[in-house]
Amino acid sequence: MGMTFAEKVLAVKSGNKEVVPGQIVTVKPDHLLTHDNTSAIIGKISDELDKYGVVRDDLSIIVLDHVVPAASEKNAAGHKKIRSFVKEHHLKNFFDVGEGICHQIVYEKGFAKPGSIVLGSDSHTCSYGAVGAFASGIDRTEAASIMLTGETWLKVPPTIKITLKGSLKYPASAKDLILTIIGTISADGAGYKAVEFHGDVSSLSMDERFTIANMGVEMGAKVTVFPVDETAKEFFSSNNISFSQNDAVWADPDAEYERELTFNLDEIKPVVAAPHTVDNLKSIKDVEGTPIDQCFIGTCTNGRLSDIKIAASILKGKKISPDTRLLILPASRKILREAMAKGYIDTLIEAGALLLPPGCGPCLGAHQGALAPGEKCLSTANRNFKGRMGCKEAEIFLASPATVAVSAIYGKITDPGKEAE
């Protein structure tokens, strides 16, 4: 019997010849990601850290991104505590405020490698399936335990196979595809499961794969993974990321799947996830004309260069509606610099956008761009939960960068095809 991606990685990493869904294995993750929550994590184990130290100085990747720069004395004290911890334990992989969103950093700097296991105290850790890693979110307490022991248990998940056919036709985007998939199988449709993407994957850029894998958790997935093809190899080589072809495991042709689905990319249309769940899928036509108080382009879902490029191309020479505001948030310093060099940032600011520093920004409602009661936000982020952007009486609609950019011109939800015509 053939094995799935998840079965292969977990077998290799647990020293078993084969594993089956439901089996619990002990693994040593290659990396552990934590962010601003590192201060709470190390606070749980301060005595043990003094006594035993960290298990490996290159295990942790720590990125300050959730509330950057610090919005309050309390945030600042948390960041300070993390910097001292990093110095004291000589940790190798620390990224201070301004480097970018943790998931973009892990991906961009090559920490997530094909066939590796990356666990993170952030639910969107599943993003690194874009480069063939087994990547999944855990809680703070488990992160604390892994810092000390370097190991944890994982249950081997059953797998859903999604076959993609054809190619996306602008203005449809990867965001529209993943929102369509989540809307089809529901917010828990992939609960506890691995999701593998097969078929015409080569038609998708790395940025597009990242957007899709990032949202795997919004359908409950444990991991969401793409094969390592020529496009992925090109990404590794152009970013000077070393990897071994032998580690790039992929499912056997006769692997056993719990469920198989096919999506025709040619038929994907721009869509919106309406409040307050990500699987509340609507066609643009259903919500067209909804007035929008705040437009938001960025985050770990859609803050990459190609996303900012699309927004700039739509808004070049135009002004956003006086009835709305537009926030732009590049996912990393690298992306910000590239977008500046290409003139995209200037174009967007000229059109009336407000630029935010690379980080999580308004996405989780902790600071920057909070909403008022009764306001509506059209966002490229990954969650539209009630209260997510700081106010439970506000509404969040999720869409692609193209849809948000076009809608910013009109101050209401607008079909991005309107501009493409």
């Binding site: 619990i24 601003d36 929550n37 201060s39 709470a40 606070g43 749980k44 184990i45 043990e48 006594k51 035993y52 959730h66 509330v67 309050s72 309390k74 945030n75 948390g78 993170g120 105290s121 952030d122 639910s123 850790t125 979110g137 855990i138 809680d139 703070r140 307490t141 488990e142 604390a144 335990s145 000390l148 022991t149 248990w153 917010a187 828990d188 609960g191 506890y192 958790v217 409950g220 444990k222 769940t277 989780l364 409602g365 902790a366 909070a370 969650r383 939960f385 009630k386 209260g387 997510r388 700081g390 439970k392």
Partner: protein, 162 residues
């Protein structure tokens, strides 16, 4: 004993708003904001021994552990749901919070029913009905029996050292 009854897809933002994530980490800081955007009655009225009953996908969303930490701290006896999201499930085991996946028990509950649970036998009593739920695998029971993951890890480190 009171049962707090909620619907499907109760996410981590409803259980503990994101805006407090980086300013509230201790149990005392967490308690007043529990379920703030879902049920304003909860934090001030919840008592030790209460139950939460909910639909599918309870705890979906962030890796935020404040919900599990807080619900354990206020003395929630068990969260009974049709299903749980995986990060919340792990977080609850790590905090020693009892989760019971039993769609039958949830559907059978009506307001005013007395509820009791026998975790050792894997039984939940709702009104005059009894439902069984599967026991956790030994790996997870070991963590709960140790009093949560940190206690378990500390014990393990101590043993290794000796």
């Amino acid at each position: 004993m009171r049962v707090w009854k909620y619907g499907d897809d109760i996410n981590t933002d409803m259980l503990f708003p994101g805006k407090y994530t980086y300013t509230c980490s201790t149990v005392e800081e967490i308690k007043p904001h529990l379920l703030e955007d879902l049920d304003t009655e909860f934090a001030s009225n919840v008592q030790k021994g209460d139950f939460i009953f909910a639909g599918k996908n309870f705890g979906c969303g962030s890796s935020r552990e404040q919900p599990a930490l807080g619900l354990k701290a206020v003395g929630i006896r068990a969260v009974v749901a049709e299903s749980f999201s995986r990060i919340f499930f792990r977080a609850s085991i790590n905090q020693g919070l009892l989760l019971i996946e039993s769609p039958e028990a949830v559907r059978s509950y009506s307001a005013g029913d007395e509820v009791d649970v026998d975790p050792v036998e894997g039984k939940i009593y709702v009104g005059d009905k009894t439902f069984s739920f599967p026991k956790l695998p030994p790996e997870m029971l070991e963590i709960i029996e140790a009093g949560g993951l940190l206690a378990y890890t500390k014990k393990k480190l101590e043993t290794r050292k000796n």
